[in-house]
Symmetry: C2
Subunit: 269 residues, 2 copies
Amino acid sequence: MAEQRLPVPRLRGVTREQFMEHLYPQRKPLVLEGLDLGSCTSKWTVDYLSQVGGTKEVKIHVAAVAQMDFISKNFVYRTLPFNKLVQRAAEETHKEFFISQDERYYLRSLGEDPRKVMDNFLIQVTGKKRITLFNPRDAQYLYLSGSKSEVLNIDSPDLDKYPLFPKARRYECSLEAGDVLFIPALWFHNVVSEEFGVGVNVFWKHLPSECYDTTDTYGNKDPVAASRAMQILDRALKTLAELPEEYRDFYARQMVLRIQDKAYSKNSE
Amino acid sequence: MAEQRLPVPRLRGVTREQFMEHLYPQRKPLVLEGLDLGSCTSKWTVDYLSQVGGTKEVKIHVAAVAQMDFISKNFVYRTLPFNKLVQRAAEETHKEFFISQDERYYLRSLGEDPRKVMDNFLIQVTGKKRITLFNPRDAQYLYLSGSKSEVLNIDSPDLDKYPLFPKARRYECSLEAGDVLFIPALWFHNVVSEEFGVGVNVFWKHLPSECYDTTDTYGNKDPVAASRAMQILDRALKTLAELPEEYRDFYARQMVLRIQDKAYSKNSE
């Protein structure tokens, strides 16, 4: 099967009302152009950020490669004053460095992982990013480890290890300063920064508040009902494990048919 | 995908020890030829059966067509003396009949359905049958209604209604007087009688006795652990139903991946 690449739609001049009424309910990614983001898009230069950010020490991710890997953790944590970080991150080659002359830096102000269960606006204030999104329907092709895909090099994946990956539909967009990307809850995203830049993420709860785990600082945990359903399923599987293999296999397949019948969305997306 | 038709292996002169040690553990259908079934294969003629069976009234299935359908129930129940039944069943065209001149009769001495969860020897004493078996692994292509396939006309199925049916592998055999077919538990079977005949089924429990439902007269019920697992799954699905469609769909797919990982047989059969 050939890879399917789909452009994320771009819309200019969308009002809040249009978004809320017509676009948000579709639960599909979308790039909003030309929103009034104030002066940050022109003002937040390297010099300005170095100056106003000051010397407060910040903990950063440092990696020898552009693609940081939050599963194998191919990065180290280091500390730098904020103004130094900004200067270094904007350089191509570093005179001062931790691991290599062309090491990459990443400062995340809160949490380790992109939030998965909340809706998200990714506001590209400065710089450029290339973003690939994956439909949650295609999770089965993404080789998840927890909530993250093991496939990091999405442009040239290891097909021996990840043979089904090309079946996942890719939704692609490039963000430039001023663009705002709507990422609905559950959509997977893979980000490559093409130059130094600042992005601001705004997350919000889409479900009623009681659906979320109250201990979930980073918005990554599954909704309460989903974790509970998964725990109950584990009990069902433990019961099934009492049977010999051929029966277990047979009834496991019956369980799958039941789930597909009762809980899969009927609209075929 | 082309239909896959596989012959059921036929073996002659297999001893009890060979069967128990080498064949039975493979859990695959098998025709045993040349077993010593005593004199019944030659003795149980129409005349003999009419004579020794006497006039005891028996309840029979009567249908206008050869393929009786236990889902839509395209047959009626009627009562005949045993000797009358045997004579009528052996005729091509009936002078006396209930619904039509070429109606078909079926006498089942116990229960409505073929047993599903027990192992089974189908002993063809007289007459000919054409039998098609389906691997339980292919249950997903059989459009089950309860434990029975909705696809009755397996030689010319309605592909608009049952598009996946051709994916089910067909294991085929013809039984003649004296042949014994081993049908492992969970294998689906479709039987066409090609002439008047008598078959004797011997069922036995393959799993330890406590695995079976004690109220299961006909051996059709799922093993206790399987029914329990299914009930627990239903609770999980009820919990999941608290979430909106897109989340429910997403987590339902995660549940399926979990089942496939934990409970599907690893040998790819």
